[in-house]
């Protein structure tokens, strides 16, 4: 079957629209989700969560956690020791406290070496590949929080 010119044009513009939608999502350029800080915590989740995905996020090199932290990850050969061991994190902090420490630890200690994982403003000379994007998405933050709360053994 031969498509006429108008149908072909319509198909082409449709696939273009789909591509743009995908690009917008994949590019991570969506606006940050609002959140409320209560005391030293963000009690309400930003999105749904999955602790197993959270573990995978924490141990993946590109997410930078294990550059500074070590934790109960026997399969991970290279783990940092600049920052507290993640073992027992869930016993030390509430879910909301963990959320704020991931989202923007600088609110609690301006001098901390811990990056703000869900923040795009107030940064200097961010490389073009990362500009305007948080280190982790809201979904990733929630997955990591859900995983860290399971780390109760000290």
């Amino acid at each position: 079957m031969i498509m006429d010119a108008a149908a072909a044009k319509a198909a082409a513009s449709f696939s273009c629209v789909v591509f743009l939608l995908l690009a917008t999502t994949a590019g991570g350029q969506e606006a940050l989700r609002p959140y409320t800080v209560v005391g030293d915590a963000i009690p309400a989740p930003l999105t749904g969560s999955d602790p197993e995905r959270g573990r995978a996020i924490v141990t993946a090199r590109q997410n930078t956690c294990l550059l500074c932290h070590s934790g109960p990850f026997p399969e991970q050969r290279f783990q940092g020791n600049l920052s507290p061991d993640l073992k027992g994190t869930g016993a030390r902090w509430s879910e909301g406290q963990l959320r704020l420490r991931l989202v923007d630890a600088s609110r609690l200690n301006a001098e901390t070496i811990m990056p703000s994982y869900y923040k795009v403003d107030g940064l200097t000379r961010v490389g073009t590949a990362w500009r305007g994007k948080p280190i982790l998405s809201a979904e990733q933050i929630e997955d990591v929080v859900a995983y860290l709360t399971t780390l109760r053994d000290q």
């Binding site: 940092g80 940064l123 200097t124 490389g127």
Partner: protein, 261 residues
Amino acid sequence: MTVGLKRLAPLAVLLAFAAIAAHAEIPLNERRAGTADLAPETKAMQDDDSANPGMLVVLDGEALWKAKAGAANQACADCHTDARASMKGVAARHPAFDARLGRPVNIEQRINMCRVERQQATPFAYESKELLALSAFVGNQSRGEPIAPPADERLTPFRNAGRDDYFRRQGQLNLSCAQCHDDNWGKRLAGSLIPQAHPTGYPLYRLEWQAVGSLQRRLRNCLVGMRAEAYDYGAPEYVALELYLMWRARGLTVEIPAVRP
């Protein structure tokens, strides 16, 4: 009056150094070059000229030193004669202030200035095999000498700019050089020992690179690691940072070409 000011100049330099020293994070007697923490086999590689891959690049540099080049058909050796004498200590004193440019230049830039002005040849590209070879050869003539930043007050604003950059948090990870290299040296960033970042051996052979590279290449790696915007090679920001790092490493021993993991 002019004489009076000239007499005061060394004092001004001292005061400027003292101002920086007040903020220095690592006490002078606690500084250690990366060599102190090398694995024994890497240290052995650095110490043995027949095993140090950087020495092959130094030999390439010696050949270039003796080769005539450019419209002037001049070799470096034609003016500077024996590098063992004429280049001894030169790398230990760079970056140094260039009065005509009105800013500091590093050893690579100094070599290229000679190449353009004296040899009337095209300058070598940054990180080119040739520029690395000549700077490694020139640098090697200072091996064993103490790092000796010039007491030149014209350098002070540039050194201060480099220092500001060193302490400035930047990039998506919002880190400063100081947070790792002053506050956390000796600890492990994933598998890698964090050094104090004293540039005693550049250009050096890095096992990770499988090649010899410049200090600016290393600075670039760190900036990308912070997810910050890297500068173009030769940028004044890099030279200012080199100037501060060399001041911070003053008195430590030059070990060009070093070997690092």
